[in-house]
Amino acid sequence: MLIYSQPLEVTQILDTVDQFLRTHLSPGMVSLSKGILTGLLLLVAYAVIALALIYIERKVAAFFQARLGPNRLGKYGVFQSLADMIKILIKEIIPINKADQLLFFAASFFVIIASLLAFGAIPFGMDLHAIDFNLGVFYLLAVSSLGVIGILLAGWSSNNKYSMIGAMRSGAQFISYELSAGFSLMTIVVLSGTLQFSEIIEGQRYCWNLFNGHLPAVVAFVIYLISGHAETNRGPFDLPEAESELTAGYHTEYSGLQFGFFYLSEYLNMFIVAAVATTMFLGGWMPVQIKGWEAFNQVMWVIPSWAWFIGKVGVMIFLSLWVRWSFPRLRIDLLLNLEWKYLLPINLVNLLVMVIIVLSGFTLTELFPAFFGR
C-alpha cells in the first residue's frame, strides 16, 4: 500500500502535542493530561456541532418551507444559535411542584450522558478517534440505548400526563427500533467480520460496505436510516414529543439548561446516527479510492479525512432533515406496525442472507478482488 501525502491531516498536530507532553511530563501524567484534553475537545466539539446543527436545521427547514430562517444576527444569521445558547444558559430553571425532584433532575443527565458516551466512540477522521474499542459497535449500541432511561424518567417524574404519554410512547418506540438498528448494524458486522470501527473503516478502503454487501447491505442501510431516524425521536417519528398532540411530550416541564440538555442531545443523536451510518456503510472518514488509480487516490487524500467524514455525515443529516420536513407524523400503532411487522422480519431474513453471501463469497471484494480487494 502506498503512502499518500496528507497535507491537511491533523496527525502532525497530534504528534507535536504528544511530543510536547512527553518531554515535559512523567508517563503517568501524559496519559492523564491526554485524557483530560480529549475529554475537553469532545465536549467542545459536542457543543459546537450541536449549535451548528441547530443553525443548519433552521436554515434547511426554512428553505423547505419557503422562508428565510434566521437572518438577523451576523451574516445569514450565523450567530443565532450562539445567542440562543447564551439565552438558554442564563434562563431560570423553574422547579416543578409535586415532581419527583431527584429523578426529574437526573433525567436530563441520563439523556445527555448517553449521547456524550456514544459521541466519544465515533471515529471523526484518521487518528481522530478517542478510544478504538475492539467492541466499538457493541459499545455504541449499548450506551446509546441508555438515553431512553432519561426520557422515561423525565416523563414519569414530571407528574404531567402529557409527559407521561410522551415517555410511554418513547419507551415503546425506542425499544422497538433499537432492535432494527442493532440488527442492521449486525448485518454489516457480519460483512466486515469485526466490531472495531477502525477495522470496519479500513475494510472499506476500495469498496464501501453499502456496495460490498450489495443487496442485503442496501436493505440494512435503508432499515438503519429508518430506525436510526426513529431512535432520534425526530419527525416523522417524533411521537414522544408530538407538539400538536402532547405540547412537548416528555420535556414539557423542563426549562432553562435542563431543557437545553434534551435539546442538545436530540441534535447530537441525529449526528451520531448519521456518523454511524457513515462509518458502517459509507466508508467512514476513508476518502474515495479506486484500486490502481494512484494519481486519483492522491488527489482524494489531499482532502483530509475529517472533511470526508463531515461531508458524508452532512449528506446523511440532510437526508434526515429532508424526511423530517416533508412527512407528517406517524401514529403509534402505525409506527409499531412498521417495526414489528415489516422491518424486523425483513431484517432477520436480511441478516441470514448476508451470512450466506459472506460464507459463499458473493461479496464484491471476493467476487472481483482485482477491483475491490484490499
Binding site: A66, F327, L334
Partner: protein
C-alpha cells in the same frame, strides 16, 4: 306543505300555524316533543335537520325557537315555537333524543336563559361556568359586577351532570350522573393546547392511547355577542359578526347584511352583489387554505402548514388592498359594500386563479397522496350521513359524509343562482373525505370567481341607507354557506332601532358536538387529526 299542516293539527289541534317569513308553528310545551317527533320521523319529507335552537325571553314567557329543515329538501323550513310562563323554574321537553345537535344547544339555552330541558341526559351549563349567578340573556338580568365578580381563583371542574328525567309514570325525577368513571385517566386537551385551534377544552379519558370518552367544554372566550347586539343599532351590530368565525368574517357579515336588507326591503346594487360574491369566495378559499394548513400541522406536517399560509397571503394582500383589513374585511354594509374595489383588483384576482390552481396540484403531490398522511386520514373519524344530519354538521365536513347541504345551492343568495359550480360530495365520511373536500372546494371557488370577475357591472356599490334602520316587527332568518358550513342569522324585531333578540347559528358548534362521537375508540393522535379535519373556530362556538 298542506300535509305538514294537517299532520301537525292532528297531533296538536290547538297549534297556531302562521305563514310568516317561514312557516311558523306555535305549540304548547307538552305538545312539542310529539310534534317534533312526527316531523322528524315523517316518511316522505323527514324534518331531520335542526338548523338552530334559539332560547327566547319574551318578557312574560320564556321559550325556544326551533328552526327545522329536511335533509331531503333543504328549501323546506319550519319554525317551531314553544314557551312557558314559569320564569322561576322553566321546564321544557328536550328534543335531544331526536336531534343530537340539540344536546349542546339546550345546555347553552340553560346557561343563558335558565330553561331546563326534561330528558336531556346532561344539563350542565354550556359556555358559562357552574358558579355563574343569574341567566345573562334574560331581559331582567342585572349585569352588575358585584353579582358575578371577575375571579382570579381557579376552581376545579366538577364532572357531575344534573339532569331531569321523566319516569314512565310521568313524574319528574331530578338526579345527577358522573360524566367519568371513578378510575378514568382524564387528560385535558385544552384550553391551552396547540392543536385545539383556540381555547377549546376536551376533557378526554384515555385507555392507554385509545380515547374512551370526550367531554366538550367551551366558553373560555364567550363574549355574549348576541346580547351585545341587543343594545346596538343594526349598522353597529355588523362588525360583531366578524368576531365570530374570523376566518369567514366577510361571509358572516354578508349574512347579517342580507337578513337586515330583506327585512327592511333594501335593494342591493348589482355591482355590490358581484363584489360580495367574489369576496365571499376569496374568503372561503382563504378559510379552506387555513383549515388545510392547520389540519396538516395537526398531523405533524409543518411544511404543509407554511405552504397553506403562503398561498393565503396572496388573498390577504388582495383584501389589504381593497379595504386595509387583512383578516377582517369590513366591507359589507347594509345596502351594499362600503367601498369600491381598487383599480387593479381584477388583475390581481386573475393572476391569483392560475397560481392557486398550480399550488393545488402541488398540495396533491406533496401531501394528499403521502403514505403516512393516508394512514392518518383514511378510515379515521367516520361520520355517517345520518349522524352528520342529526348533529347538524354542514359544510365540507357534512358533504364528506354524503349529505348535500350547500346553502349556496339550496337557498341561493347574492349571485349563486347565476354561476355554475359543482357541489363537492363524498360518501366516505372519514377525515380524508373532509380533507379532500376542502381542496376540491377551493377549485370550485376559483371557478366561481372566474365566471364573475370579468362581468362586474359598473354603477353604485351601495344604496343610500338611513343611519338608523328600523326593521318591521317580526322574525327574520338568513343562512349562508361559510367556510365551515351553514351560518345562520336570526333577528327578532319589535320595530325598534335595536333588535329584540339576535341569534347566530354556528357551524363550528355542530362540528364540535360531533367530536365525542367520531373520536370514540380512536387514538389520541387521531383525536387531534379528526378535530383538524372538522375545522372549527372557537369564537364561532363561544359567540
Amino acid at each position: 306543505m298542506r300535509d305538514i299542516r294537517k299532520m301537525i293539527l292532528v297531533t296538536a289541534p290547538d297549534a297556531l300555524i302562521e305563514e310568516r317569513q317561514k312557516l311558523t308553528v306555535t305549540l304548547r310545551p307538552e305538545q312539542l316533543h310529539r310534534v317534533m317527533e312526527e316531523l322528524r320521523r315523517d316518511e316522505t319529507i323527514p324534518y331531520d335537520y335542526l338548523i338552530s335552537l334559539t332560547g327566547m325571553d319574551w318578557g312574560d314567557t320564556l321559550g325556544v325557537i326551533y328552526q327545522l329543515s329536511s335533509s331531503a329538501d333543504l328549501t323546506r323550513e319550519i319554525i317551531v315555537i314553544t314557551s312557558t310562563a314559569n320564569r322561576t323554574d322553566p321546564l321544557l321537553y328536550s328534543v335531544s333524543d331526536l336531534y343530537e345537535t340539540a344536546q349542546l344547544n339546550e345546555r347553552e339555552v340553560y346557561a343563558l336563559f335558565g330553561i331546563r330541558f326534561i330528558n336531556n341526559p346532561d344539563m350542565r351549563r354550556f359556555l358559562l361556568n357552574d358558579q355563574w349567578k343569574g341567566f345573562p340573556f334574560r331581559k331582567d338580568y342585572t349585569h352588575d359586577p358585584v353579582v358575578n365578580p371577575v375571579t382570579v381563583i381557579s376552581s376545579d371542574i366538577v364532572d357531575i351532570a344534573p339532569r331531569i328525567r321523566e319516569t314512565a309514570g310521568g313524574d319528574l325525577v331530578e338526579e345527577s350522573v358522573a360524566i367519568f368513571d371513578e378510575d378514568d385517566y382524564i387528560i385535558n386537551i385544552g384550553p391551552q393546547h396547540p392543536s385545539t385551534h383556540g381555547v377549546m377544552h376536551f376533557r378526554t379519558t384515555l385507555d392507554g392511547e385509545i380515547v374512551k370518552k370526550v367531554d366538550v367544554h367551551s366558553g373560555y372566550i364567550h363574549r355574549g355577542i348576541e346580547k351585545l347586539c341587543e343594545n346596538m343599532t343594526y349598522p353597529q351590530m355588523l362588525h360583531l359578526t366578524d368576531r365570530l368565525d374570523y376566518l369567514s368574517a366577510n361571509i358572516n357579515r354578508h349574512a347579517l347584511c342580507m337578513c337586515i336588507e330583506k327585512a327592511a326591503d333594501i335593494a342591493v346594487p348589482a355591482r355590490a352583489q358581484y363584489i360580495r360574491t367574489i369576496m365571499d369566495e376569496l374568503q372561503r378559499i382563504s378559510s379552506h387554505l387555513l383549515a388545510w394548513a392547520a389540519h396538516c400541522n395537526d398531523l405533524g406536517g409543518t411544511t404543509a402548514f407554511i405552504y397553506g399560509m403562503r398561498e393565503r397571503e396572496h388573498i390577504l394582500d388582495i383584501f389589504d388592498k381593497t379595504c386595509g383589513g387583512r383578516l377582517i374585511v369590513n366591507q359589507n354594509v347594509v345596502g351594499g359594500v362600503m367601498f369600491d374595489i381598487y383599480p387593479d383588483f381584477q388583475k390581481d384576482v386573475k393572476a391569483f386563479i392560475p397560481y392557486m390552481r398550480r399550488q393545488l396540484i402541488e398540495y396533491d403531490h406533496f401531501f394528499s397522496h403521502n403514505a403516512i398522511a393516508l394512514g392518518r386520514l383514511v378510515d379515521i373519524g367516520h361520520l355517517s350521513r345520518e349522524d352528520a344530519i342529526s348533529y347538524g354538521v354542514t359544510g365540507p365536513a357534512g358533504r364528506a359524509s354524503g349529505w348535500s347541504c350547500d346553502v349556496r345551492r339550496y337557498k341561493p343568495y347574492a349571485l349563486y343562482d347565476k354561476v355554475e359550480f359543482k357541489e363537492i360530495l363524498r360518501t366516505d365520511g372519514d377525515s380524508y373525505a373532509r380533507y379532500m373536500n376542502r381542496l376540491d372546494e377551493i377549485a370550485q371557488s376559483l371557478h366561481i370567481i372566474e365566471q364573475l370577475i370579468d362581468r362586474i357591472p359598473p354603477g353604485e356599490v351601495c344604496t343610500k341607507v338611513k343611519p338608523v334602520i328600523r326593521l318591521p316587527e317580526g322574525q327574520f332568518f338568513q343562512s349562508v354557506e361559510t367556510g365551515k358550513g351553514e351560518f345562520g342569522v336570526f333577528i327578532e324585531s319589535r320595530g325598534e332601532k335595536t333588535p329584540y333578540r339576535v341569534k347566530f347559528r354556528s357551524p363550528s358548534l355542530s362540528a364540535v358536538s360531533a367530536i365525542p362521537l367520531i373520536c370514540k375508540g380512536s387514538f389520541l393522535s387521531d383525536l387531534i387529526g379528526i378535530a383538524g379535519s372538522m375545522d372549527f373556530v372557537i369564537p364561532d362556538i363561544d359567540r
